[in-house]
């Protein structure tokens, strides 16, 4: 028995099996059904859109952080989430640029994983919305899938794609906003409506989210708060003015389900405390309805989440846990 070989590590020596990398890769994996559904609904070309976003994100992560952090899976997840918020016929070079912006402006300049204030995927999308307002609102309609490649996927970098009016359609939210036409709940639930490629199938996204909530990889309070708030507020508005969208339509249309389940729950950019999660979710829900009903845009999920992201430090400060054996007090964040 030689003495020198014993380790001296401070307790606890035991460690639960979960790791940050495992969480990131698991979240990514749960998005596979929604991604494949998009390929089935809009054609295999959407996989290229997603792949381009992931590539842009991963390459930027590699550039800023070196190879080490790619394995934690967060950059790939950011790219994947961004890709799922894009229109099915989005030019690939824009998609890749969006991925780069998501990591570069959304994460790297804040100091990397865990330091960023805003959801990187949504920041990437906001960048694309500002840079390419036409392309990002050009929606390829649903049709037979298979190997169909729609839109201007292969538009040459730094060229503006031709607006192919013949093959575009309006999203359910656009129809509602500009023409007052509501879409039925069933297609919204299943995803065979026009929209961003990953946000159309509410069922698959909710299933993925439910799995993650059971695994405790996401805080169920945030989507629950968002859904409840949107349902209640839009229900109340619908009761006053039947012309405004009803609760079911509000819940299932646009990016609400994807945003509530996968974007708002990003741990880095949401509150760590339970009461904080409720406040955060209610805030997002209110802003979504506010923007959709009275704003100039048909959709408001992205801006609602980004705005609430900015308030997270203040929410955290206001909701510090009550320490055992104290009456509770004001804590600083």
């Amino acid at each position: 028995m030689s003495e020198a070989r014993f380790e001296l590590t401070a307790s606890p020596r035991l460690k639960a099996p979960d790791s940050t990398a495992r969480i990131m890769w698991t979240v990514s994996a749960t998005l596979a059904p929604a991604t494949l559904a998009a390929a089935w609904l809009f054609g295999a070309g959407v996989l290229l859109v997603v792949a381009a976003a992931i590539l842009g994100a991963a390459a930027t992560e590699r550039l800023f952080e070196g190879a080490g952090t790619l394995s934690d899976g967060s950059a790939v997840l950011t790219g994947l989430l961004l890709g799922l918020t894009l229109p099915p016929g989005f030019p690939l070079w824009m998609s890749a640029l969006g991925g780069a912006a998501a990591i570069g402006f959304g994460k790297a300049i804040f100091g990397g994983l865990g330091q960023n204030v805003f959801n990187p995927a949504l920041l990437g999308r906001a960048f694309l919305q500002a840079a390419f307002p036409t392309a990002i609102t050009t929606w390829a309609p649903v049709g037979p899938g298979g190997d169909a490649v729609r839109g201007d996927l292969f538009a040459f970098p730094f060229t503006t794609p031709e607006a192919a009016d013949a093959v575009t359609g309006a999203t359910p939210l656009g129809l509602m906003k500009f023409e007052g036409v509501a879409t039925d709940a069933v297609p919204l639930l299943l995803g065979n409506t026009t929209g961003s490629l990953g946000e159309t199938s509410a069922v698959l996204i909710l299933a993925g989210g439910a799995y993650l909530a059971v695994k405790r990889y996401l805080d169920w309070r945030i989507p629950a708060a968002i859904f409840l708030t949107v349902a209640l507020v839009s229900g109340a508005l619908h009761a006053i003015d039947p012309g405004s969208p009803g609760p079911l339509f509000s819940l299932l249309s646009g990016g609400l389900v994807l945003g509530a389940v996968y974007m708002a729950t990003d741990p880095v950019t949401s509150p760590v405390t339970k009461p904080g999660a409720w406040i955060f979710g209610i805030g997002i829900g209110l802003l979504v309805v506010l923007i959709r009903v009275w704003g100039g845009l048909p959709e408001g999920v992205m801006y609602a989440i980004l705005f609430m992201n900015a308030l997270v430090p203040f929410i955290g400060r206001a909701t510090q846990p009550r320490v055992f054996g104290t009456a509770g007090e004001e804590g600083a964040a």
């Binding site: 590590t9 035991l14 760590v272 846990p321 054996g325």
Partner: protein, 448 residues
């Protein structure tokens, strides 16, 4: 963590974690007495408070039970020879806390029958409460659950607090350890006798023995042997770490929260660990002071995991040898469990009064895990049994902002390790808090 079962059955506290308990190695292994080793090493500091003062000299002959170091004041405890023999040396020796401290080395007399002389501890019958307290101190009895707080101090609450309940801590929530479990199964009468002594000394009418429900045999044996004339209840507790932390146990049993910065007595409770309470009984039964204790020697790195009665001061090397030695792939030796235990590097270190167990682990240690940045997932907040915000405290610790940590209740942290255990980014939170506590002590000492 939220659990419906806890909510429905009660007897739990909020938050906490569920590490695998790994008790199957020794939970059914009967306690065996280890033969006397060639040498015992008795540190003068085996208790919380002032170290004992040696009263023997090298060359002195001592019998088993003789006082070799006297208590220095009230919050202190004497040390007794755990084997008959000759004092070899009084000098510096590796201490289980990682330091080097003064210790009395005794070469054990191989031919001594090691039989106690006429009783040293008086008979219990007929002693008044204060005489019981004095006898307990003279017998060197301290808490055997790890902190080694002198028992007689617990038995002497200040006049302005009113103790109404004695809680026996039989939770033993640390993975691997089965010391208290086997004590409760094999010596339940001793536990009850110890309860009787403590109730008399404290003047309380009611006692509760709290045992985690993963020890049904202990609960059953304690219920079978409960004396009819005492108000003692045996309560099954939710299996959750750190159920055995005093504040958690009190919350589970009484629903009361010990106020921040206060002691159990401030909510009318005295908590004593099951092994310690059995020891009180033992010293009054045998007439010998605290010279031996029960230790679990276990873990995948031990060839023959065992529950042992060892003389206090037995060197780690001798205890391991008696258990078949170390496995070839042993990487780490801990005194205590794998959540709060103290790592050992020197096989000459003695097992002392506060050594609950020896756990030998194999495989890669915590330092080899990949660390990721904090992703603010909040898992640590749901683990912390005292509702701190480890995520925020960790950030402050990294920045060296210790005063701010103190403002955020670092003092309430028990270093139970739950936050480090759950952190998916492998951030050594609890370890950083231990460091910060040390830095704060230094800062405060400088300021005072």
């Amino acid at each position: 963590m939220f659990s419906l079962v806890d909510l429905l059955t009660g007897n739990g506290f909020a938050h906490g974690v569920h590490p695998p308990d790994s008790k199957e190695l020794t939970e059914a292994v009967p306690i065996r007495r280890m033969p006397f080793p060639e040498e015992v090493v008795l540190p003068v500091r085996q208790h919380a408070g002032k170290p004992a003062v040696p009263i023997v000299r090298p060359g002195d002959r001592v019998e088993r039970g003789d006082t070799v170091a006297e208590a220095d004041g009230f919050v202190s405890a004497p040390v007794h020879a755990s084997a008959a023999g000759t004092v070899k040396e009084i000098g510096w020796w590796p201490h289980p806390d990682g330091s080097t401290d003064r210790a009395i080395r005794i070469a054990v007399d191989r031919w001594s029958p090691q039989i106690p002389r006429p009783r040293i501890v008086p008979r219990w019958e007929g002693l008044a409460a204060d005489e019981v307290v004095r006898a307990v101190q003279a017998a060197g009895v301290v808490g055997l659950g790890g902190a080694a707080f002198p028992t007689h101090v617990k038995l002497s609450p200040p006049d302005d607090v009113d103790i109404e309940l004695l809680i026996v801590n039989g939770a033993e929530c640390e993975p691997y350890l089965t010391t208290d479990h086997r004590t409760m199964v094999e010596y339940p009468e001793r536990v009850h006798f110890g309860v009787r002594v403590m109730m008399r000394a404290l003047g309380v009418e009611q006692a509760v023995i709290g045992v985690e429900k993963n020890k049904p045999d202990a609960i059953e044996r304690l219920r079978e042997t409960a004396p009819g004339d005492l108000d003692v209840e045996v309560v099954g507790l939710t299996v959750k770490y750190p159920q055995g932390a005093e504040k958690m146990l009190i919350k589970s049993v009484t629903g009361r929260e010990v106020p921040s910065g206060k002691l159990p007595m401030h909510v009318g409770v005295v908590v004593q660990n099951a092994g310690s309470i059995a020891t009180i009984a033992e010293v009054f039964e045998s007439g010998l002071p605290l010279v031996e204790r029960i230790v679990t020697v276990t873990g995948p790195g031990v060839r023959r995991p065992s529950n042992l009665i060892v003389p206090v001061g037995t060197r780690l090397r001798d205890a391991l040898d008696f258990c078949g030695g170390l496995a070839d792939d042993a990487t780490e030796i801990l005194f205590g469990g794998p959540m709060m235990g103290v790592p050992q590097s020197d096989l000459d270190v003695p097992l002392v009064k506060g050594t609950t167990g020896v756990v030998v682990l194999t495989g890669a240690g915590s330092a080899e895990r990949t660390a990721y940045p904090c992703i603010r997932c909040g898992t640590c907040l749901e683990a912390c049994p005292v509702f701190l915000n480890p995520q925020r405290l960790g950030r402050l610790a990294r920045a060296g902002r210790y005063e701010e940590m103190a403002e955020s209740h670092l003092d309430d942290c028990m270093l139970c390790g739950s936050c480090s255990y759950v952190c998916p980014s492998n951030i050594p939170l609890s370890q950083m808090f231990a460091l910060a506590k040390g830095q704060l002590r230094r800062l405060r000492a400088k300021a005072a």
